[in-house]
């Protein structure tokens, strides 16, 4: 479903080029649950950014269902991105929209009817426990609430793949469990999940495939991996 072939990403700013990813290759099959682990700066976020076509790789290609993601024309890019649901590390909620509007935005973009929006959004908000916060703006939410709002937005349109970059970074253990249970549930329903995290407990409890990155290189790729750095 997703194939990374010899992907290298070098950021050129300042005097010294920074190699974020170096010759990374792997494949993700449909309905797989893959965790990507590594220290801060190991290249997890860069990897997800490249998959989302937010960044172009310096070398190598990324295929999604046989299509080179970085050769999709700008006007076709939105359609590709609607196949994915992304939870960003910095949430990226729209500050001028309420929680409800942030979640419904993608449905509006996709041209869903008002009735569908009225029906689906409250359900998802209930799942992530934000029913009471539907009319609040992001700046009125706590870090954990924002993270859950971001997750709700990534789920709402039932994408084929969910990319989650540190979705539990700001959550207490109780909510962390909730989010992971939620991701597991979505995965059981047939969604491919790519989870980037450095939470040891989560990885060890999941018992799923783990790709470990260090300084931009894949040092381990195990079917039933554990958190080892």
């Amino acid at each position: 479903m997703i194939t990374f072939q010899n992907v290298t990403k070098i950021y050129r700013s300042g005097f010294k080029p920074i190699t974020a990813l170096s010759n990374v290759s792997f494949e993700i099959k449909p309905k797989e649950f893959v965790s990507i682990v590594g220290r801060s700066g190991a290249g997890k976020t860069t990897l997800l950014k490249i998959l989302l076509a937010e960044e172009k790789p310096t070398q190598g290609i990324v295929l999604f269902e046989g299509q080179n993601v970085h050769q999709i024309r700008p006007e076709k890019l939105p359609y590709f991105r609607r196949e994915l649901g992304a939870v960003f590390q910095d949430y990226k909620l729209l500050p001028c929209k309420t929680t409800f509007e942030n979640v419904s935005y993608i449905m509006e973009v996709m041209g869903c009817t008002d009735a569908e929006i009225e029906n689906d959004v409250p359900k998802v908000l209930e799942i992530v426990g934000l029913t009471d916060r539907a009319d609040n703006f992001p700046e009125e939410l706590s870090g954990g609430e924002r993270q859950r709002a971001a997750l709700a937005r990534a789920l709402i349109h039932r994408p084929q793949i969910i990319l989650a970059d540190e979705p539990t970074g700001n959550l207490d253990p109780y909510h962390t469990q909730e989010i992971i249970r939620l991701l597991m549930k979505v995965h059981e329903m047939g969604t491919t999940v790519i989870l980037a995290t450095h939470n040891k407990d989560i990885i060890d409890a999941l018992g799923k495939r783990v790709i470990t990155l260090e300084e931009g290189k894949i040092i381990r790729d195990e079917e039933r991996g554990r958190f080892l750095l």
Binding site: E54, P74, P78, L93, L94, V109, G111
Partner: protein
């Protein structure tokens, strides 16, 4: 399609309301821009009015010798009237000239006495010539001097008026040039200020725009609400400017009329209301939409 359109408009209006302070600041700048552009329009009208009313006052008289006959002069009149530079020409006979003269000086005893002392009519018949523009008198004079009937001409008072006419002519063209240059500079400054205000307002939403791209919104769905905001700002700014002008002109118009009789800016405003509204709307909405369009382009590349 229709749903998307409605959502774009709704979303634009919502952002306009929620970013109240920013919207207000943009409206303020836009109002100043539109006011500036429309003042230029009024300034140009005023200077045109002044120039043409001064031009009306300039003329030239051609006096004929006592020996010339009336039908000879009338023949010459037709000949001069056929020149392209001539706007109008009037014949003043010796008797008419005397009538006018006595009328003007009837209270001045010394002049009236000396006139009756002479016994005969000392005034000459003349043709009063008006050109379209002050600069054209020179060529009319040279035509008169080289014409076959030039011996009949006693004098042309152009040479006495010449310095005044020439100065006036140069002032007129200076006013026009300064007006054009100032208009261009003012308009450019106003447009740049408005453009940069919108740019800053959109820079503020830079990350928002990039996020919208990342979650899969099409460019039109992202751009639309900003353009709607541009339109709303433009319309509000136009309305405020119109109101400002109505009030200002209502109070200032009488004072202007003292300075330049016959110039009523308020009635000019009312008479050209739709033209002015169109100019202001075009300036306000056009600027708002165009600046948004240009400013947003770079953030859509994600």
């Amino acid at each position: 399609m229709l749903t998307s359109f409605r959502r774009i408009i709704q979303s634009g209006w919502l952002s306009f309301r929620r970013q109240g302070g920013l919207s207000l600041a943009t409206i303020f700048i836009m109002t100043m821009t539109i006011a500036c552009v429309s003042s230029l329009f009024f300034l140009q009208q005023t200077s045109q009015f002044l120039v043409s009313s001064l031009q009306e006052k300039v003329d030239m008289s051609v006096y004929f010798t006592e020996a010339s006959l009336e039908n000879e002069i009338l023949g010459i009149k037709n000949e001069i009237a056929s020149l392209p530079e001539v706007k109008s020409i009037d014949y003043v006979s010796r008797e008419e000239a005397l009538d006018k003269f006595t009328q003007r000086h009837q209270d001045d005893e010394v002049i009236m006495e000396s006139l009756s002392e002479i016994g005969v009519n000392p005034l000459l018949a003349s043709l009063n010539v008006r050109a379209w523009e002050a600069s054209q008198y020179e060529s009319i004079v040279s035509f008169l001097n080289s014409a076959s009937f030039s011996p009949l001409i006693d004098k042309i008072d152009y040479s006495q008026k010449k310095p005044a006419i020439e100065r006036f002519s140069s002032i007129t063209s200076t006013i026009n040039w300064v007006g054009i240059i100032l208009s261009v500079i003012f308009a450019a400054v106003a447009v740049l200020v408005a453009f940069n205000t919108v740019r800053l307002a959109i820079y503020n939403s830079k990350e928002e725009i990039e996020t919208m791209r990342l979650v899969g919104a099409s460019n039109w769905f992202i751009r639309g609400p900003f353009l709607v905001q541009g339109v709303v700002v433009g319309v509000f700014a136009t309305l405020i400017t119109l109101l400002l002008f109505v009030v200002t002109l209502l109070f200032l118009s009488p004072k202007f009329e003292i300075l330049a009789p016959g110039l009523n800016l308020f009635s000019f405003f009312v008479g050209n209301f739709f033209l002015i509204l169109l100019i202001q709307l075009a300036a306000g909405v056009g600027l708002g939409v165009l600046s948004s369009w240009i400013a947003i382009r770079r953030y859509l590349r994600v």
